[in-house]
Subunit: 282 residues, 2 copies
């Protein structure tokens, strides 16, 4: 296995959707592998990905000689691939948005392979499918690794090198810590935006500005994917929602009772945090 | 008063912040008025606006010969300007985000002048002050007019011509209907985003992507301005929040109980509406 600056031999991508397709595209654009092979149940998507240069070939199974296997299937489908590939010689990683349930699901069926590195690139789009693939999707993206005690250092290094070559930064966290944080920073906003769109009616659409557009953009995300994510992380999400509901009720009560001191203090703190977040990015 | 394609004589802008400054900048860039005079309590902001070409001059009062007076002060300061200018010969409009309370506040102090056109350009930015002025802010922006029974047609036409010259589209609504709709499309998203930021802590900031950034952008908005807007429209906002809380609870319960049929139906409907909103824009 290539763990340094040398070109990869064979990269296998299981699941050629937005993320898998973007990995293929980024790898081909940067010429990071001699061969990129896709494993994709949807024959049309797979064909499209080959014709458009995201993959070199499609296969119905992961090649024996794959050095690196990117499992880009939905979170609830990752565990069975990990178990199936337990004896494969390559390094495996997934890209699921929820780490605990994936790891627990593997553990229920057998030992977690040392060469499996649970990964989560915090990146995405409200679009889906290989047609939306973007070779720059991982530029400036944070990829969280949630290794277990037995995860091999060499496998982690190989993954870190791979993601960094795609322009990403890597970060290590415990899986429970990851899932609790992502419940706040990603899953809760999606839940809130989906619920918000329910009450938007057609006549409202003429009365919207840039704020509405940005606030609701994530509600256009893939419903199947997001149902799975929210369901898998439902324990952490419920905790995040409980805290949110308390905060919302306190702020709403300040408005309702015209309590300017409390209301302004809450809004000022929120605005200051959001402004600081922009500075952190830059 | 100029109601057609001729250039305005004098435009007065009361309150030279983001909106007032952007009106000045847009008018100067398009050469729509012979003279743009600003009335602004903050002497430094006023001076900056003159030096940077947003205004021709500053004044401590609205010139007698102003053809058009743009009241760009905060919503709760509009009524006293309207009353003070009741005998002025020019057409007046405001840009407040909440119309009912402004109109009621004028009515409590006297008759609403026929030449006052309550306006709301649905446009803005999380930025504030004349330094953030943008001459293109009203391009493709919808400006809602909420005229009363006695509002003069000529005044409405003059305002419509003015806003259209800045690139905007105009739309007429009753003020109560406007306030109920904007509670949903603008004030509720701000309330939700402010409340959301309360639970975001510093370690979360490394774990955010584009979805978080877009969803929370409006929480960086001017706290004083938004406290006033939410407080003024608190009746309509409370109604919108009640409906929202019901929808949120239903969706959260579907996730909690793993009710895929109901949860997927809700999320699919939300995503379809959001996708349709993008098509409406284009």
């Amino acid at each position: 296995m290539n763990t340094g600056a040398d070109k990869l031999g064979t990269l296998a991508i299981v699941g050629v959707g937005l993320i898998g397709g973007s990995i293929g595209k980024a790898v081909k654009e940067r010429d990071l592998a001699h061969r990129v092979v896709g494993i994709e149940a949807d024959a049309q998507s797979a064909q499209w990905a080959v014709e458009n240069g995201l993959l070199d070939a499609v296969s119905d199974r992961v090649p024996e000689d794959a050095d690196l296997v990117a499992l880009c299937v939905p979170s609830d489908a990752v565990a069975s691939w990990v178990i199936d590939l337990a004896d494969h010689a390559g390094v495996l990683f997934d890209v699921g948005s929820v780490k605990g349930p994936i790891i627990e699901s593997v553990q229920e069926r057998g030992a977690v392979p040392e060469r499996f590195v649970p990964c989560h690139p915090i990146s995405g789009s409200e679009k889906s499918g290989p047609q939306a693939a973007d070779g720059a999707l991982f530029n400036d993206c944070t990829v969280v690794f949630t290794p277990l005690d037995n995860t091999s250092d060499a496998a982690q290094q190989a993954c870190a090198y791979f993601w960094q070559a795609l322009g990403a930064t890597t970060l290590q966290l415990g899986f429970a810590e990851h899932d609790a944080a992502l419940a706040v920073t990603s899953h809760l906003p999606h839940l809130l935006a989906f619920a918000f769109m329910e009450q938007v009616e057609e006549p409202h659409l003429a009365l919207t500005g840039g704020g509405f557009r940005d606030f609701t953009r994530i509600a256009a995300a893939n419903p199947e994917l997001w149902w799975r994510i929210m369901r898998l992380n439902r324990r952490a999400l419920a905790g995040a929602l409980e805290q949110y509901s308390d905060n919302l009720q306190t702020l709403a009560a300040a408005i309702e009772t015209d309590n300017e001191v409390q209301g302004m203090a809450l809004i000022r703190a929120a605005a200051a945090k959001r402004q600081a977040a922009d500075k952190t990015e830059n």
